[in-house]
Symmetry: C2
Subunit: 208 residues, 2 copies
């Protein structure tokens, strides 16, 4: 069975759990919350010198890190990754944009507001620019989602799962105003309506 090291509260980790639930891929879950010491252990650093989760360890010992690389690997050959080369490139486009623009603003502001070890960063000169940049990113998504039901076109893909992870909690955790982006709100509901769906709190059926 696969082992998934993931952080229960993290959107990057949630993406992978959500795809695994949708594909019915069984996994052994190792919880690696902040402060648990899991990602700073010598055992984990041997698996990922960068010290981040999510990380998948295959039964044969190979490892794969970076949430979106994991999504693409398991999405291949499923309904979550189109076969056409250009359609696939559009999925990639949104996934790279997520890691560079969206996660760096929307996830970061939510992390500063939710995690006590980041309370020192709760200052206007840090929070306000993140709010503005995050709203600009939600506007970018809104432009696309007013044209197509899902980010990369007509079908739900790995790009939607990837961007759902931090967008669905942007308001509750990050203080972003989703009411300004009706196409984004409608898309969140469409992603949630795609069965099976699991919430952030779902950690699989096999805790380590």
């Amino acid at each position: 069975m696969l082992t998934l090291y993931s952080m229960p509260s993290s959107g990057n980790s949630y993406k992978v759990r959500l795809l695994f639930a949708k594909l019915g891929i069984p996994f052994r879950h190792v919880a690696a919350e902040y402060g648990s010491g899991v990602t700073t252990s010598a055992e984990f650093r041997a698996l990922n010198p960068h010290g981040r989760v999510p990380l998948v360890r295959f039964e044969d010992g190979r490892v794969l890190s970076e949430s979106n690389a994991i999504l693409l690997y398991f999405a291949e050959g499923t309904r979550f990754l189109p076969e056409d080369r250009f359609d696939q490139a559009k999925v990639h486009q949104w996934m790279f944009w997520e890691q560079n623009s969206h996660e760096a603003t929307i996830a970061v502001r939510a992390a500063i507001l939710s995690y006590e070890h980041r309370a020192g960063e709760r200052r206007p000169e840090i929070l306000d620019p993140l709010l503005d940049a995050g709203h600009r990113n939600l506007a970018t998504m809104d432009v696309q989602l007013a044209k197509t039901p899902f980010l990369a076109g007509n079908s739900l893909s790995a790009a939607d799962l990837c961007l759902y992870a931090y967008t669905h909690s942007a308001e509750t955790r990050g203080g972003f105003d989703l009411s300004r982006f009706p196409a984004v709100s409608a898309w969140l509901a469409r992603v949630e309506a795609d069965a099976p769906h699991v919430p952030l709190s779902w950690l699989g059926d096999n805790p380590a």
Copy 2:
């Protein structure tokens, strides 16, 4: 012919020019430097609401943005992308890591130090954490490059071109100390030795 909108001074744009040079793909180059007004024009915003380059416009009008999505699209079926599914996932892993961890520190510090419109950010509380985080990222690359000649294994791939773009100027533009990372320095020389190679200043043969 393809049209490539790219920023002459940008590593993200350079990645694409470097791959196009290596693959002998002709393109019409539209320079979109900061302050040129290109990316803020209504014409460009219709192509990319997020307003960033690089962006490729195909002859039939389709567009593709995000440097690493462009790299993957054109690398497919060439020596720059392995066919094996897991080997390809490792290329993706490094490319997502580049956009989330490496670019967000090494490119950002270099941009603050090089671009006059960012001079206001030249303060220790901004520059020092970027220096530390960037050095940790170079250390992550050094661990891998001490084991394999290229980031995703034995062959030069899109992951190397992607990470070369900002790493090769990390010292000169960003003030990072590459002498601490001998495997990274040796890898930079290996990437440059792969013919044909073009420098950052190369903008193709067909300016718009």
